[in-house]
Symmetry: C2
Subunit: 421 residues, 2 copies
């Protein structure tokens, strides 16, 4: 039996309607920016396997660090114990985080890092005897799939059957040049009600919405209003974090810093699932008390798994290195050139670029998971490029190590695909 | 600066009130059943680092399999692709799961596996146009820390500040010889209301409640009532799974099989965080449709991470081996002998044993996270044994590879501690 047939017997894939799903390619190997399937076909990984393998697949320096850790200390309960990989990672991370971030709380993926952030914000007020139970989020935001994370997300394909089970969330539009005054007003009057605990946002780029970008200065005005009302701000940097927007974090480009940040995905470079929710000393101190129950009684078994910490620490060292910073600049410049060209194309509605993220909206409308969109996916795959269009948005978020030739091949395929849409 | 001081600067530990927390031991190495700290002290890991490292820390066969995988394929999007480690793991798992389990859905930890199970159950009815939105859970149950998992849990220290944000859950007492008729009646009339989607339970052993055990035949009567009403049953085997109760799964000891199962913790032997929610073909078929949106649109980035799959597959191979099955029997026999002795002790309220799980309740009452409980913890640590009492329950859940001498040392320490409580 082929791998494909064996796959179908018992595996239920995420975000997949199996009745309509074509046979899945079987990936057997990955190296740097390239994926290899069981038929010997190669694909350029144009989205770094969901923005994780930014340092290249199976990066030898990271694999080395992880292998060493695996033979030394695999796992230890992080409640009641500590260990060097977590301590060293905390120091590496502090060196690149916005200065107001002081404490790190571990969990296992982006969704749980958001559930943690929401719980932190709610309990922050609860511990002070203040009743603030509402969260504000951005329209078209996406923050994950657990119940807390779903509640603050606004993409209905993910939430449909579950909406009546959500926590109390109000939404405001993403600020733009045309709506900023209204959004400010709406946000201000929502916060004036005094029942809002936190505002959660994907800074600068809304990933799952289709790499939609918005201006730092406009977001900053919104954050200023949150600060004025004493509402905690939560930057979900699960997608944007670790160099993808050109700076270490998207929040680096915005004057008002968040109170809480969510980190995952490329935190561990594709090696293992791990997430961190960071926060200010002020947030932390609301839990620091003689009363035991004012502590934060959240705890996943694999919190701060030593192997995952080792992967994260080595990744951050690479990110800080001159050569990776050069990669980021190189990719950004190429993206800008390609964007200039694409802007003129009549089938292109708009183009946006930030750091290594390139997004382009087509004039045609395509369903997020529809037949047309799948044709684009297949078109790219047949030409040896893995891209994952989101509705009518084609985007690239390549590993930092992608070569100029590989990037050119992706650009060329995108130009080709415009002829058939 | 020492590791201890460095730890305090930026790390926020789970389930910890830092103001009351003593300096944390720094674990630098682990091998088989032993942990080593930075002062050269050794500790027997009496709870297999929260029931994960059951095959021994840094098990060379597992580390080998994982290291090979790390150099081959680290990560690939599991929506739109598949890969051999996931396929091979699915076959290994199918060989030991209850026969009615047919499909495997990946996530990243026990909490998310429960959120997935709840979402599956709710959407199972939603997709059929049936309004069933309530979940029934057991009193004293614990299922995790995300909002969905918290909702079905009943340990108030974890839930306090968040209770008003929960989905609709009703609770029934754990069935016992004395209450079974009432519980059956209560459960039956709750289900007769027709709005219940699922019943979730930790089969045979409630872990976080203090390794509380209850009878298979009584649970089976409850499950029979759920089947009669067409209510889905969810076995949370995150703690009990993979040999700990003497059989591959606790559900193997109960005639009525669950519709959905949650697996995590020792699934990956302490190497990486991963979870799987399994289900019957019937559950799966409620999502299999020409309509895209009837699919299950849940998906974590690291779903079925190849490295974690490699760890899981090797672990299951070890679990099935004669030598590990012998380990389980050996530990069970030793536990039984020790239990006989402890039953006679005047400070012991009751003793319970199942597979490699040993639990013992003291006549004294201790707070779950109180000062007295911490003294017990310290007492054991000073003698080179890591145990983690839950209130007035002392329990052991050792790695399968623990030696008889190491087990005896743990037993001896427990006898000693009875002199001071």
């Amino acid at each position: 039996m082929t791998f494909t047939d064996r796959d179908k017997k018992h595996l239920w894939h995420p975000l997949t309607q199996h009745k309509l799903q074509k046979d899945l390619p079987v990936i057997v190997k990955a190296k740097e920016a390239v994926l290899l399937d069981d038929q010997g076909n190669e694909y350029i990984d144009g989205i770094a396997s969901w923005y994780t393998a930014m340092y290249g697949h199976c990066n030898p320096e990271i694999v080395d660090a992880v292998s060493k850790q695996l033979g030394t200390l695999d796992q230890i309960v992080f409640s009641g114990f500590t260990h060097p990989p977590a301590i060293e990672l905390s120091e590496s991370l502090m060196a690149i985080l916005p200065k107001n971030q002081q404490k790190l709380f571990f969990s296992d993926n982006g969704s749980t890092s958001v559930d943690v952030a929401i719980k932190m914000a709610l309990q922050y007020y609860y511990n002070q005897g203040v009743k603030r139970t509402r969260i504000i989020a951005l329209e078209d935001g996406f923050h994950g799939d657990t119940f807390g994370a779903m509640s603050v997300s606004d993409l209905s394909v993910y939430n449909g059957p579950f909406e009546e089970f959500f926590i109390d969330v109000a939404r405001i539009p993403v600020p733009s040049e045309t709506n900023i005054n209204e959004v400010e007003q709406q946000f201000d009057s929502l916060l004036a009600q005094g029942n809002v605990a936190a505002f959660i946002y994907e800074p600068l780029v809304q990933g799952a919405a289709g790499m939609k970008m918005y201006r730092a200065d406009l977001l900053d005005r919104i954050l200023g209003i949150a600060k004025k009302h004493g509402v905690l701000t939560i930057a979900d940097e699960v997608m944007t974090g670790f160099g993808k927007t050109g700076t270490f974090f998207a929040s680096d480009q915005i004057p008002h810093k968040p109170d809480i940040m969510c980190l995952a995905k490329s935190l561990t470079a594709g090696i293992a699932s791990m997430a961190i929710t960071t926060c200010t000393q002020e947030v932390y101190m609301a839990f620091y008390d003689d009363e035991i129950t004012k502590g934060f009684f959240h705890g996943h078994t694999y919190s701060a798994n030593p192997t995952a910490c080792a992967a994260a620490q080595k990744s951050i060292a690479l990110l800080q290195s001159e050569s990776f910073q050069e990669h980021i600049q190189r990719i950004y410049k190429q993206h800008l050139q390609f964007a200039e060209k694409m802007k003129l194309h009549k089938k292109v509605k708009n183009v946006r670029c930030l750091g290594v993220i390139f997004g382009m909206e087509l004039t045609n409308t395509l369903d997020r998971y529809g037949e047309k969109r799948n044709q684009l996916f297949q078109f790219f795959m047949k030409r040896g490029v893995f891209l994952r269009p989101l509705g009518n948005t084609i985007y690239i978020l390549p590993p930092f190590v992608i070569s100029d030739e590989q990037l050119d091949k992706i650009y060329h395929c995108i130009e080709e695909v415009l002829e058939i849409v």
